[in-house]
Point group: C2
Amino acid sequence: MTKKSTRLAKTSAEGGDHPSATRAEMPASNRAARALERRAAIVEAAMEEFIARGFAATRLDDIAKRAGVAKGTIYLHFKDKESMFEELVRIVIVPVVARLTALPPPTGSVRDLIEAFAGNFLKEVIGTRRGDLVRLIVAEGPRFPAVADFYYREVVSRGIAAMRGLIELGIARGEIRQKDLARYPQILVAPAMIAVIWQSLFARHAPLDAQDMLRVHLDLIFGERRTT
Amino acid sequence: MTKKSTRLAKTSAEGGDHPSATRAEMPASNRAARALERRAAIVEAAMEEFIARGFAATRLDDIAKRAGVAKGTIYLHFKDKESMFEELVRIVIVPVVARLTALPPPTGSVRDLIEAFAGNFLKEVIGTRRGDLVRLIVAEGPRFPAVADFYYREVVSRGIAAMRGLIELGIARGEIRQKDLARYPQILVAPAMIAVIWQSLFARHAPLDAQDMLRVHLDLIFGERRTT
DNA sequence: TGACGATGACTGACTAGTCAGTCATAAATG
DNA sequence: CATTTATGACTGACTAGTCAGTCATCGTCA
């Protein structure tokens, strides 16, 4: 009468019951480890779906399917769709911030420092899943104040502060002319943000060489690099 | 039973005479005119709702209510929700482009030209409903290729071309040093775009003086303005 | 060590609710 | 009165969230 046959079919059909052979899955460590793995799978899957479809249009069924988990399982890890989305942003962003905060030793010219930063950003954000996350936050931010707040606090305000510090250093060292720039570090990062958005929206129409663009922008700020 | 109180304040100044005074409402011109009004009301309402909630989360019932029409009426003007959204973007953007394309006579320095442009942009886009539209397009673009295409064709590519022209002029006239800038007009507009997004997302955390920021940015490109 | 009951992670059918789109009916118009 | 336009109750498809039941794993004890 009941249709519980699914799991049975799978298990019983496999005559031999070596865990490894039967379970197409993992070395099946202990429960806790498996749970963590599953949670990670859900986060990963949810990420993809939310980026591809936005919050409202994403179905939890799809996330579950992609993560290889039953829908109910999601609710063992997250309270509901909304808080799942909010946690998601935290989960994905925190390690990135952590990595970037571990800044390289301040050696060399300010331009070199910023260039290193830009190179990182290029490699790690522009054109990657993380870049899409940024677009997603721009998209959903107004409907998720908690997300916008978090993003401002953890990423934007820190980033702005760091850039301001760099700019002031550059001014002090005479590398940067324009003193007012320190008041608007946004100007420094604007082209990078534009590059992120451009890749998501217009890359197919007109590919953008983000690296070259950022170089030109830095030339604008520091003066043309002399190949002397 | 019905609450027809909605379309009151509109155009009651029309030559109303014959209809009984009972209709405190519109003397209403002819059918075609009313239809256009309604269509406009729907577009306006849809705009608000889509901006506030995004495409997927917007309910047609809400649009209808806000526009003061029945839901069925929407379907007299638009095929379905999706094409409504796409048409909407066109309807709202076309006049803006038209207005901006009617550029002022190229008098004065390039910097003055661009400053006039920026001033316009500031007044007409940043911090207005139209700014939100830009954010909406960024948000929904990936899910609406038609919208992204249209926006690229009508706004982005034209804007980029126009900016490139201005930059080249500035280089020719010796106002702009950095020749490579002509290859990336995006750099010129990046801070303006950032300002649009900033106002939507972070204004409540840290208000941004967009005008001043744009001035600083232009100083960066043209050199500090001499108070001549 | 091996057997066995307790545990709780996991499942997916199900409920309750939502909303795009339809259409029979009503109002307005000419 | 015939025709065009508007209405909003209704339908059917879809989905967030639930929960009774299952079973792999774990702790315990002979």
